[in-house]
């Protein structure tokens, strides 16, 4: 595509893209670090991760300001308008991702003791998948590749599945050994946060689709999360009185 | 994108040269330029002022006419109430003059006296009686124009008149006929001196004639010698012939020598007379006239001495008593009698009438009421003015509609092809054709082919219309072109047809320009002479024209005719006619400006 006749318009768009790229990188790192912190139970890393969330927040404010300025001064049309609106939406999503990541890292500082190994494994697997989704969708945005974004959008179902099984698993652990309730509850929230991060990645994917094609997604988002209706029967032989 | 390189910076970094030398050179050049402009204006204005000043100065006298009030007896025998027109009014006028100067008896003198009044006096008297027939049988004072040479004299254009009242006594020898006037002092010395100067000038002339003669004689004597020598050498018949010629030549030379001595004598005589003191000398026609007004009479000086004048009494004296000092006048007419039309006797009659108070300078209404005439004092411009007016009306009525419509067609409707270009080129060329060509065209076509009346305003108007047509067409086209196309588009967009656009919008907006062009064209036509000469408007037209087919003339042609006339009085009248023409032109141009302003405001 040709460049704008007014170079400062072109530069303004480039600046927003750059900020967004930086924000995406930070969010990715934030997520990776927080998953590592919780699975390795790395205190120092967790603290560092919590602190660095401020950068992501600042970038969101900056990107919003830049976008407002562009709209007021340049009256962008068509693709430029979609780019600017997309930038605002994606930065909001990335900011939420950062916050959720910070939350995960915070819990890492609490989870100190040994935890059921299998749960941790499941969590780590889920975390890796979510991180992968984020990476993929940010790449799709950078390439303006809406097919790639659609792949991410559909794969959210897998994360939902993972979350479902993890949910049941943790419930089982809690039922087996009430001593693990505290730990497992934290792990439940961590899993929930990861699932939310996955949803935000899906939001970003929808935004990319609209940005590139100009049309909203026709299909309805696959919702695989059944945890809201999951309940488990307390096994008759288990229980505090059982040994 | 611009790149700044260090090489191009050197030229681009230079600042304007604001040195004092450069600035002062520029100021000087600008001042010079302004000076040239002022100089040009000054020259133009100076020429204009000089031109106009000359015309006005020359023409102003023509606006006044001297009239004499005479007592006319409307003898019942002469004037028949039934047939007023038949009376011999000229005789009545003459008789009035004879009664005033009863001492004039000789026939030649009487004829001279009757020439004082204008030849048109009879018409004045006839109109007087027609206005009030009851004057028949009575004597009334009637104001009649004087003739043109009297008028010129009275206006001081014929000669300067000097008067002085010497402070000595003067004793006349008689009261009529040959009179001798003796003064008690040398009061006429200056006149005598003037005569002597004149004599000396004559002597000089004679001397130079003598000198020429002497030279001629010298040449002839040389010829004689040569001839004599040849005769001596020749033989036979030839010698006879040559000797005969020698004899002829000798007698010729002798005659000349006699003549020469005569000239020398005359010259000597003149010199002696001129250089002598005192004496009494004749005043000839070639010298300024001197008249003495004393005791109610007038004596023309024929001989003058230092203290005495001898002459003829034009007007008899009332007494031969001595006139006291300051009671008698020496009147000198500076231009000699030989050089003027009004002789001393006639001038004296005029002065007497003036002393009567009978001469009055009035406004020359004849200029604006009568047509042309051979007698200058009766010649008026009115015929030419009416003729011009009628001609211009025809010109306007023909050229304006045709010109404007043609221009509209060419500008708005004509397709862009070769024929249209051809027409345009030809119209532009027509504007440059010499006007006399149009006259020839008018002559050939209107007079010869169509047989229209010669010298009529109708034909003149048609010829001038042809001449003005290109001017109007060109001015109209320019005015139409100047109407902004946005107005046309607006009108078209509203749904006006092409004709409506032109008549409702374009034409009103173009009117100021069209009118200006028309009036300029009319002003040009007003001043045209050559084409009208061709169609005969140079004829001598006496009557003021009343219709378009009456013979008429126009102002510029009238000016041309008068400029050609020999009478002195026509000089002033020509300039007066030019002034009238210029006034009309100025008024027409002022009208153009006025109309233009008015139309611009309204639309």
């Amino acid at each position: 595509m040709q460049e704008h006749i007014v170079t400062s318009f072109e530069e303004a768009l480039d600046n927003i893209n750059e900020s967004l790229a930086r924000m995406g990188g930070l969010a990715e790192k934030q997520l990776a670090d927080s998953i590592e912190a919780i699975t390795r139970r790395d205190h120092a890393l967790a603290e560092k991760t919590v602190a660095s969330d401020k950068q992501i927040d600042a970038l969101e404010v900056d990107i919003e300001a830049q976008a407002l300025r562009l709209i007021a001064l340049r009256q962008p049309m068509a693709i430029d308008l979609r780019e600017t609106i997309s930038a605002i939406k994606i930065s909001a999503d990335l900011e939420r991702i950062g916050d959720l990541g910070k939350n995960v890292a915070k819990r890492a500082m609490v989870v100190d003791q040994a935890s059921p190994g299998r749960a941790m494994q499941g969590l780590e697997r889920m975390g890796r998948q979510v991180l992968n989704q984020l990476k993929e969708v940010l790449d799709a945005y950078a390439q303006r590749d809406h097919e790639r974004a659609m792949v991410v959008w559909r794969r959210d179902e897998e994360i939902d599945e993972m979350y479902n099984s993890l949910f049941r698993e943790l419930l089982t652990y809690m039922m087996e050994d009430p001593r693990t309730i505290s730990l497992c509850t934290h792990l439940l929230f961590v899993a929930k946060n990861l699932e939310r991060i996955g949803d935000h990645s899906t939001n970003i994917a929808e935004t990319v689709q609209f940005l590139v094609t100009g049309n909203p997604i026709e299909e309805s988002r696959p919702k695989g999360d059944t945890t809201s209706v999951t309940s488990m029967e307390f096994p008759p032989d288990a229980g505090p009185q059982a040994k | 994108m611009t790149d700044a390189t260090s090489n191009s910076g050197s030229v681009m970094d230079r600042k304007p040269d604001l040195s004092a030398k450069r600035v002062s050179r520029r100021y000087a050049a600008e001042a010079r330029f302004q000076a040239y402009g002022l100089g040009a204006i000054f020259i133009a204005v100076a020429v204009l002022v000089w031109l106009l000043g000359t015309i006005v100065f020359q023409g102003l006298p023509a606006f006044t006419q001297y009239k004499a009030t005479v007592d006319v007896t409307f003898d019942a025998d002469e004037v028949d109430p039934e047939n007023l027109a038949a009376a011999n009014y000229q005789a009545l006028a003459r008789r009035a003059l004879y009664d005033r100067f009863p001492n004039v008896t000789a026939r030649r003198d009487k004829r001279e006296l009757s020439s004082v009044l204008s030849g048109g006096a009879d018409i004045t008297l006839k109109e007087f009686v027609e206005a009030d027939p009851s004057v028949i049988g009575t004597t009334r004072k009637v104001q009649v124009s004087v003739s043109d040479s009297m008028d010129t004299f009275l206006k001081g254009q014929m000669t300067d008149i000097e008067e002085r009242r010497p402070d000595t006594e003067l004793v006349p020898s008689a009261i009529e006929g040959e009179v001798s006037l003796l003064a008690s002092g040398n009061v006429f010395a200056d006149i005598l001196a003037g005569v002597k100067v004149e004599l000396e000038a004559q002597a000089e002339d004679v001397l130079s004639s003598a000198r020429r003669e002497r030279r001629g004689i010298g040449i002839l004597e040389n010829d004689l010698e040569a001839l004599q020598a040849r005769a001596n050498e020749a033989v036979g018949e030839e010698r006879e012939g040559l000797l005969a010629r020698v004899a002829d030549l000798e007698s010729d030379i002798n005659a000349r020598i006699r003549k020469l001595s005569g000239l020398d004598e005359r010259a000597a005589f003149l010199y002696n007379t001129a250089r002598s003191s005192g004496g009494s000398l004749d005043l000839t026609e070639a010298m300024p006239s001197v008249l003495i007004e004393v005791n109610g009479g007038v004596v023309k000086a024929k001989k003058v001495a230092n203290d005495q004048i001898e002459g003829t009494a034009f007007i008899p004296l009332q007494s031969s008593a001595a006139a006291a000092s300051g009671d008698w006048t020496v009147v000198t007419y500076v231009t000699p009698e030989r050089g003027r039309q009004v002789k001393d006797q006639t001038a004296t009659w005029l002065r007497e009438l003036q002393k009567d108070g009978a001469i009055e300078s009035t406004f020359a209404d004849v200029l604006f009421t009568k047509g042309d005439s051979r007698a200058p004092e009766q010649a008026g411009l009115w015929g030419a003015v009416v003729g011009s007016f009628l001609t211009l009306i025809i010109t306007l009525m023909l050229s304006f509609p045709i010109g404007v419509l043609a221009a509209i067609y060419l500008e708005e409707f004509a397709p862009q092809n070769r024929i249209t270009d051809l027409i345009e080129v030809n119209i532009n060329n027509l504007a440059a054709v010499p006007s006399i060509v149009f006259g020839l065209l008018g002559l050939a076509m209107f007079l010869n082919f169509f047989g229209l009346p010669r010298s009529a305003p109708l034909v003149g108007g048609m010829v001038l219309a042809l001449m003005t047509l290109p001017t109007i067409i060109i001015a109209t086209r320019a005015a139409l072109k100047a109407v902004p196309p946005s107005i046309r588009e607006a009108a078209l967009g509203i749904g006006a047809s092409k004709v409506q656009v032109i008549t409702h919008h374009v034409l009103p907006l173009a009117m100021p320009g069209i009118l200006t062009g028309t009036i300029i064209g009319m002003a040009q036509a007003l001043g045209e002479t050559a084409p009208l000469l061709m169609i005969g408007m140079v004829a001598f037209i006496v009557d003021v024209p009343t219709g378009f087919t009456d013979p008429a003339t126009v102002l510029p042609v009238q000016i041309y005719i008068w400029a050609d006339s020999p009478e002195r009085a026509f000089v002033a009248k020509t300039s007066a006619a030019i002034m009238v023409l210029l006034t009309f032109l100025i008024m027409m141009n002022a009208l153009a400006v006025l109309l233009r302003r008015r139309f611009e405001r309204r639309w």
Binding site: E3 | Q416, R488, E489, I494, Q500
Partner: protein, 271 residues
């Protein structure tokens, strides 16, 4: 119905634009100025009671096209128009058709306000007078008043109808020209960059006016301001080098045009 049901019933984005009947239909219009071709096979519909805007870079043929619609190109000797242009099923280039009638049914407002050098009253009254619309003075007064009211100028000039039209400000003059066009009760009003000579406030007034009068007239407006086209029109056509590149609902053209040339133009990627 409850609010929720109401929201569910409203279709998401069904533009009312494409439902209006066609007022002027142009097919395969080509325009030649002598040897040079200015328009190539333009086919476009102007819909009733809608504002259609024509956009494009300089020299793209939008003004040429506009002037074809009321046969103003007839004034240019070397102009030649082919193709069919119909007003309500009548071919306006039919030789039997009187061009004066066409121009009374299709009015025009020009780029630079061009009131006649007459009084305000006479400016408005001229059209009705030559078309014989009013027969009495009262009828004419009414036409003048209604036209000026519709053009939003009545309050400002009602006390000075006898003053010359050229004494008004630029914006007022343009509204006067619109009133003048309205006075002959046209069906279509063509506007050739009507606001390009006006300041922003006058421009805004004119845009408001266009919005108000579109329920009585069908309007075609040529503009070089995309924001104005976006604000004012329901349908937009993009011209480039004499070709009609894209045409569609204004909203769609300005958020998601189909043709890349359109996108490049409206985002300012080429002039």
């Amino acid at each position: 119905m409850s609010v929720a049901e109401n929201i569910a019933e409203t279709p998401a984005s069904e533009p009312a634009a494409t439902n209006m009947p066609v007022k002027m239909e142009t097919r395969d219009v080509n325009v030649f100025y002598g040897e040079k071709q200015a328009l190539f096979d333009v086919s476009l519909d102007v819909r009733k009671n809608q504002v259609t805007s024509l956009i494009g870079p300089s020299g793209c043929g939008k003004s040429t096209y506009l002037r074809c619609l009321n046969r103003m190109n007839d004034v240019v000797d070397i102009a030649r128009v082919t193709g069919s242009i119909k007003l309500d099923e009548d071919d306006i280039y039919d030789p039997k058709v009187d061009v004066v009638e066409i121009r009374a049914r299709i009015g025009m407002v020009f780029q630079k306000p061009n009131p006649f050098p007459k009084s305000i009253y006479d400016n408005i009254a001229y059209g009705p007078r030559i078309h014989g619309i009013a027969s009495t003075k009262n009828e004419m007064d009414e036409i003048v008043e209604v036209s000026l009211k519709r053009a939003g100028l009545w309050e400002e000039v009602k006390d000075r109808l006898a003053e010359p039209g050229t004494g008004l400000s630029g914006g007022q003059q343009q509204r006067l020209c619109i009133a003048r066009a309205i006075a002959v009760s046209p069906e279509v009003i063509l506007m050739d960059e009507p606001c390009s000579a006006l300041d922003p406030i006058a421009t805004a007034r004119i845009e408001e006016l266009i919005d108000e009068i579109k329920d009585k007239y069908s309007i075609v407006i040529v503009t070089h301001s995309m924001q104005q086209a976006a604000r004012v029109s329901q349908r937009t056509a993009f011209f480039h080098l004499g070709i009609l590149v894209e045409e569609g609902d204004t909203e769609q053209i300005f958020t998601n045009p189909r043709d890349e040339r359109t996108q490049d133009y409206i985002t300012g990627r080429f002039g």
